[in-house]
Amino acid sequence: MNLNTRYTLRHLAAREVIAAAGVMILSLLAPIQASAQETIKIGLIASLSGPSSKSGEAITRGMTLAIEEINAEGGVLGKPLELLRRDDENNPGKGLTAARELIQREKVAVLFGGLQTPVSLAIVPYVNQVKRPFMGPWAAGTPITQNGADPNFVFRVSAVDELVDVALVDRAVTVHGSKNPGLVLINNPWGESNERGLLAALESKGLPHAGIEKIEASDVDVVPQLTRLREAGADTLFMVANVGPSAQVMKSLERMDWNVPVVSHWGPAGGRFSELGGPRAETVEMIQTFTFSGTQTEKGEAVLAGLQNLFPEIETAADVTPAVGIANAYDAMHLTALAIENAGSTAGEAIREGYYAIESYDGLVKRYQQPFTPDNHDALGPDDYVFTNFVAGEIIPID
């Protein structure tokens, strides 16, 4: 199975297949240069295989729907958009190799990233070096956009760890009255990014912490780590990990019979957490930027209908998981199309300025008002975060 696929067409009737075959034969006869100018290529480097592959699928779905809508309106600069995907296999080295290939050989106008902060962090220095815009629709690591480069070509439509961490601490204090929280963090750069953010947020409130425990994706049982936190008097747990290790935390809490509130980053939303995490999975309060559950705006209903049309396996809002990946990618793609339109070309520097020139966009997550400025490359902020939990396998807003 070739994971490096192109998405420009969806349902093909027999007549369309014959027509497409004819176009393909003609395109083979046409000069290569002419073929390269027919579309504006958008690259995506995400997890398309392995345990995080659901995230790559979600980003693909969001971007594909947006591209369908944009192309139906005539494309950008008179050309249709074309999505080129590469699998990073959750490996920063492979992600960087794919970035080089997409930018140097495929000449993508903008590169999109995936769920994994370590992969995005590996790509960021390269895109800044070659001056090619990079859009992050999911990975929340603070240094992805705040990378110190000048000029900075990295933009994001997603949560930002240091802002999420402030929201997590606020919730633990205001809702659970936490005075001595413990930190349970995945042992990778995403966990480290949140360790810094959580400690800063706790310090700003003058709160101590019961301890910092690291967990691995391969940990069968995290009782030893949790026991340390319980013995240190932790009254709330901050959890930053993806689905598998988060599920192990909840199973271990069940084994310990420790009823402690768990306030989590959005990692558990990426897969079958409610199935894997046992009876306590539904007690986790996790941050999201968007959910398809509950009352939807007109835009939300239209996007859900569009997704159901494109992907027939989506029957209800519960099937649109993880919603944040789809929603962020959908808005990020539309904002990118506006940036290219503003730029008037696919030159990297011009597109970068094009992002700053976006005045407003009525998106799925929110109505964006000048989403990017030279001092702020993150389109979403704390006001856009919502706390949710799993109910019968569906992610539902708590408040």
Binding site: S49, G50, K214, S218, D221, T227, E275, L276
Partner: protein, 289 residues
């Protein structure tokens, strides 16, 4: 904290020990090992999930069927990835078995799917209290199964004709053939048993962990460390080393912090090998000339 930590360590350690027994049994008859033990473990769990959850077979039918699939996998590994290289006097079986594991993992990725799944078990739903600590009954079952298998394997090797044939196969293959031992079959069966041990480990750990194509890799590495630590030529040695390794991991995490777990456990392996090159319970090979 000590009771809870030891329960964690013994459960994990018995799983390492079961996988390490798979390394032991093929080494004992052929001086080769199946480096795709982690993938075999994953295969057992995936087949168990497929039969019991996807197809809805009763567990008493699904799990033996899954282990049967593991046995066939073990035979295939020996026939395609080990035998051709050994026949040529090559050590390339080492890389071939590693590659075979990667191929299997990716095949499962495309057929089984990319997401981790939950393999339900009545033994991993309601925790019980044991010495004041919570434990899933399965965490007690795993060491019991591991120790029982190590005991049975030792008895088999020392007290039965089949066991004698296994030992003869590695010590004097030509002489063994002269007295009617089919050495090729013995080695093939050893690889089948090795994969079955891995499958048992996969089926036992899956309800506590999850089932996914990538679940076996890290366990395979740690189990090989346990096999080397215990002395790969001793069945009891690798099981005890597995239990020790699991307990050291859990105790280090509990008392020093999770940041030190891998540093301490792998440093200990290096230290033991530097001072006792054949492992804690292994014996030096004797070559008579």
């Amino acid at each position: 904290m000590i009771a809870s930590t030891l329960i964690t360590g013994l459960g994990l350690g018995a799983m390492y020990g079961l996988l390490a027994l798979g390394f032991h049994i093929t080494y004992a008859v052929s001086k080769t090992v199946n480096f795709s033990q982690g993938a075999s473990m994953m295969f057992g769990a995936v087949m168990g999930y497929t039969f019991s959850v996807t197809l809805g077979w009763p567990v008493l039918l699904a799990f033996p069927a899954a282990l049967g699939c593991c046995a066939i996998l073990g035979l295939a590994i020996e026939f395609f990835l080990v035998r051709p290289f050994v026949a040529r006097g090559s050590e390339a079986w080492l890389m071939a078995t590693v590659a075979g594991g990667i191929v299997l993992e990716n095949m499962v990725l495309f057929t089984f799917g990319k997401e981790p799944r939950n393999l339900p078990s009545v033994l991993a739903q309601e925790p019980i209290s044991l010495f004041g600590a919570g434990a899933y009954p399965l965490q007690i079952v795993i060491p019991v199964v591991g120790i029982t298998i190590a005991f049975a394997l030792t008895w088999l090797q020392r007290s039965t004709r089949a066991g004698q044939a296994m030992l003869a196969t590695v010590q004097r293959p030509e002489a063994a053939q002269l007295v009617g031992v089919d050495t090729r079959a013995v080695i093939a069966i050893a690889f089948a048993i090795s994969a079955v041990f891995a499958g048992i480990a996969g089926l036992l750990i899956a309800p506590l962990f999850n089932v996914s194509a990538s679940m076996g890799t890290i366990f395979g590495i740690k189990a090989f460390a346990a096999a080397i630590l215990g002395g790969i030529s001793s069945a009891w040695g690798v099981m005890i080393a597995g239990l020790l390794y699991g307990c050291i991991e859990a105790l280090t995490t509990a008392y020093l912090g999770s940041g030190y777990t891998q540093i301490v456990s792998f440093s200990l392996v290096i230290l033991v090998l530097a001072t006792v090159p054949n492992g804690l319970f292994g014996r030096a090979a004797v070559n008579k000339v």
